[in-house]
């Protein structure tokens, strides 16, 4: 059986050698930049490997032992040579480091006007939710030429959200939010992989990214079944779970109003200042008594185990929709 497999493999190989891809599609704004660095590194690798291999080969032939009692002259030290082959590689690595780090900085900071899409990794599928409402599993529809920020977490173990064609990757970790951003530059269909081993069906936790023209994307968003937006779903949950009983909009409830809260700097009872972002709101829902406010007793019950990560994201979307700090000061 093994021989047969090997034979089939070899035949296919022979037929396909000419078609072996060596470079993945470059479909995002940063892909070309990453590829250029990659090619530079490849060139350095090939250069030094070839240099060492050929020097060794040359020496092996030229200085091969010609008689049994051949006695070479003693080695002399050569400090200048030692220093140069210490300093030159150091300089090369400095160049690589500076180039790479500046790319990395750029690739880590999402532009201000990014579309946000939310991802929850769960053994063994990706749950993807657009703020406008549509939800997908293992599929991500995005518009071309628009920056997209993916905010993600995991329901269980560590997963990793990887789109090779965009050259982006980030771990999805239970208990916290991580994010990456990209701007797709080519309409098409690209692989989505989980790149952190997560158990039995890790290899099946794959899917597709569909990059569409802006009109197609808008049509896709509004097409299909009537969707409520994430904020609307969040609002329903807010009522269902009883949050609205304490968090009354006009501040007459037992808990603080959430209007205009997102983006604010809140002072806690122990004097710390915390930014109200996704992470803080999640923390408030899951471990409420770890955040104590100056004027409110710590009586909020925890919702850990009662709602899943996607629902937490919907609640956060609702809180965001109640106005951010800037809107509050500008609009009113």
């Amino acid at each position: 059986m093994i021989m047969g497999l090997m034979q089939t493999g070899l035949m296919n190989m022979a037929a396909a050698v000419a078609a072996i891809p060596i470079r993945p599609t470059a479909a995002s704004s940063i892909a070309e930049g990453v590829d250029h660095l990659y090619f530079f590194l490849t060139a350095i690798t090939l250069f030094f490997t070839a240099l060492i291999f050929s020097t060794i080969f040359f020496f092996m032939v030229k200085f091969r032992r010609r008689s049994a009692d051949e006695q070479p002259a003693d080695t002399k030290t050569h400090l200048a040579l030692e220093l140069s082959w210490t300093i030159i590689p150091t300089l090369i690595t400095v160049v690589i480091f500076v180039w790479s780090s500046s790319l990395y900085f750029e690739n880590s900071r999402p532009p201000e006007a990014s579309t946000e899409i939310f991802v929850v990794g769960k053994q063994w599928m990706w749950h993807i939710q657009h703020p406008e409402g549509p939800r997908e599993i293992n599929e991500l529809h995005v518009p071309v030429n628009a920056p997209v920020k993916i905010t993600m977490t995991s329901e269980d173990v560590i997963h990793d959200f990887y789109i090779p064609a965009f050259r982006v990757k980030k771990d999805a970790i239970p208990g916290r939010y991580t994010s990456l951003w990209f701007q797709a530059t080519k309409i098409g269909t690209y692989h989505l992989f989980c790149a952190q081993y997560c158990g039995a069906d890790h290899a099946e936790m794959i899917g597709w990214v569909y990059v569409m023209s802006p009109t197609d994307y808008a049509a896709w968003l509004s097409g299909g079944a009537r969707n409520e937006s994430m904020a609307q779903t969040g609002e329903r949950l807010f009522t269902q779970l009883g949050c609205v009983t304490c968090h009354v909009a006009d501040n007459t409830g037992r808990g603080p109003s959430l209007v205009g809260l997102y983006g604010k700097q809140e002072k806690l009872r122990n004097g710390d200042m915390r930014l109200v972002d996704e992470a803080l709101i999640r923390q408030a829902i899951v471990t409420p008594n770890s955040i104590i406010l100056p004027n409110y007793p710590p009586i909020m019950p925890t919702f850990q185990g009662q709602i899943n990560e996607e629902q937490v994201l919907q609640l956060i979307a609702y809180v965001k929709s109640l106005g951010t700090e800037e809107r509050k000061t500008n609009g009113k």
Binding site: F48, Q71, P72, S101, A203
Partner: protein, 548 residues
């Protein structure tokens, strides 16, 4: 075909076959299992480590056979996940980490420094027993259903979600860690306190410097993985622990603790091989090493800097950009001493008298493949490219180039070089060179395609994969079958040579070094009289010869 023919060093007689040496000084299983002779302990380790190598290698063969088909040709995904885990655990902890130190190191350290044994022979024997007990726990895990967490045991999968034999495996790794610690302790004390008269630090063979640097990592790093695994085991048993998010635990903390050891561990795996390189290159080009001081200090530099770079395994975990920058710059820094060594070894060949014996072929293969493997590390130290390449086959290719193309080839080169000293017999040179070639070819065919696969985006630890990756996978599997055959050949002829190989004299290679001034095999006490050392290491220029 020419094997080196060097006249015996003056004063050494060709030993009679019946001369007493460490192998025949006493007979019987008890004399081996209760030995305190470092040379016998080295052979005990050689046997166990070889066994573990072939067990781990067997899993690799199954994996590569399975990956011929995109949907998997051999086993269910759950089984595949266990195969790569067990391959990794066994190869890392039970083969690569102990390989050169516990076999060649144990055998040679006392001999190279002119001592009768290590400082603590009974601790040495204890370290072997600890290794075996740890291996038994791990093998028990293998036969009781296997373990599927990956050799990296990331939480919370390993602490909470996996349903496999995590605790026995973790226990096996934990226990075997103490074997490393004791070996490192023994080497450090021996090298500090038991050098022969006249053997100053800068006259030591570079193999000893390499063992010393490795021992520093054994001593400082291994206890941290021990406590990490201990905590993981407790969490699995008690269902609560410091990585448990329900009480505020951080799964990323596990990664920090794990990699704090496991990154220096990879230098445990390569430094001894670099030490072997210095011995082989000098002997088979009959020259003093170029830049002794630089090579010696580069070993120490690698050992120390290796403790500062662990975060480069975690660039995509969402750690702060600034942490990423620091780990990136340090990771580039740690590459420089290795580059310095490669240049020094190459320069040693210049105007040498080079012979093509099997150990030298392994050495030359090492230099080329280690260079390539090391340079591909730059892709991973570089933040922007690491984001794309992390978690893919590029990483797999990178570390196999260093571990297999580097460490294993150095190990085989060392075994072949010191085989006549260890056994008193020579192996058939033709087969040895042939095997070296087969291994070199098989290795490159197996792992080079994996660089391409990684860049294309194929993630690692995948039991099934998209069809467009098949051609490269088949190439890799073809290479693996050649590599596997390549490893079997030395096993056969080395074993054969113990009985049927020609008798070797004290110094068949004409090498410099105190170990070559003893009979082959050496007597139990190594030296009748402790030698007095008056010359530098690798003093080949003054071997009685005609040209100046």
């Amino acid at each position: 075909m020419s094997t080196t023919v060097i006249p015996e060093l003056p004063g050494q007689e060709i030993p009679a076959e019946s001369r007493v040496n460490y192998l025949n000084a006493s007979y019987g299983v008890k004399s081996w299992l209760l030995t305190t002779d470092h040379k016998r302990i080295a052979l005990l380790y050689l046997g166990s480590i070889t066994l573990m190598f072939f067990v781990g290698g067997f899993f690799a063969v199954l994996m590569r056979l399975h990956l011929i088909e995109p949907q998997g040709a051999l086993v269910a995904p759950e089984t595949y996940n266990k195969l790569f885990t067990m391959h990794g655990v066994i190869m890392v902890f039970f083969f690569l980490v102990p390989s050169i130190p516990a076999t060649l190191g144990n055998f040679l350290v006392p001999m190279m420094i002119g001592a009768r044994d290590l400082a603590f022979p009974r601790l040495n024997l204890l370290s072997w027993y600890i290794y075996v007990i740890g291996a038994c726990f791990t093998l028990y895990a293998v036969i009781s259903g296997g373990v599927d967490t990956g050799w990296t045991f990331y939480t919370p999968y390993s602490s909470t979600f996996s349903h496999t034999s995590v605790v026995p495996t973790a226990l096996g790794v934990f226990i075997t860690g103490f074997s490393s610690i004791l070996t490192g302790l023994n080497f450090v004390v021996t090298i500090h306190k038991m050098r022969a008269p006249g053997l100053t630090w800068f006259r030591l063979p570079l193999f000893i410097w390499a063992m010393y640097a490795t021992s520093i990592i054994f001593i400082l790093g291994t206890p941290v993985i021990a406590i990490t695994i201990f905590l993981l085991g407790l969490e699995r048993l008690l269902h609560i622990g410091i990585f448990d998010p329900a009480i505020g635990g951080d799964p990323i903390l596990f990664q920090h603790m794990f990699w704090f050891y496991s990154h220096p561990a990879v230098y445990i795996m390569i430094l001894p091989g670099m030490g072997v390189m210095s011995e082989l290159i000098t002997c088979f080009s009959r020259k003093r090493i170029f830049g002794y001081t630089f090579v010696a200090f580069s070993s120490l530099a690698i050992a120390i800097i290796s403790f500062l770079v662990w975060g480069h395994h975690m660039f995509v975990t969402g750690q702060s950009i600034y942490a990423g920058l620091i780990f990136s710059v340090l990771s580039f820094l740690v590459a420089i001493p290795s580059a310095v060594k490669v240049f020094n070894w190459t320069a040693t060949l210049y105007k040498g008298s080079i012979s093509y014996d099997a150990p030298m072929l392994y050495a030359l293969g090492f230099i080329g493949l280690f260079t390539m493997g090391g340079l591909t590390g730059l892709f991973l130290a570089s933040l922007a490219t690491d984001v794309h390449l992390n978690g893919t086959y590029f990483i797999v290719a990178h570390f196999h180039y260093i571990m297999v193309g580097g460490a294993v080839m150095a190990y085989l080169g060392g075994i072949h070089f010191w085989w006549p000293k260890i056994t008193g017999r020579m192996y058939p040179d033709g087969w040895a060179r042939f095997a070296a070639l087969v291994i070199f070819v098989g290795f490159n065919l197996t792992f080079f395609p994996q660089f391409v696969l990684g860049y294309l985006g194929m993630p690692r630890r995948y039991a099934v994969y998209p069809g467009e990756f098949q051609v490269l996978n088949v190439m890799s599997s073809a290479g693996a079958s050649i590599l596997g055959i390549g490893y079997l050949i030395p096993l056969i002829y080395l074993l054969w040579s113990i009985r049927y190989g020609p008798i070797a004299g004290p110094n068949p290679w004409g090498a410099k070094g105190l170990e070559w001034e003893t009979p082959s095999p050496p007597p139990t006490e190594n030296f009748e009289e402790i030698p007095l050392v008056t010359e530098d290491a690798y003093n080949y220029a003054n071997v009685g010869g005609s040209r100046g």
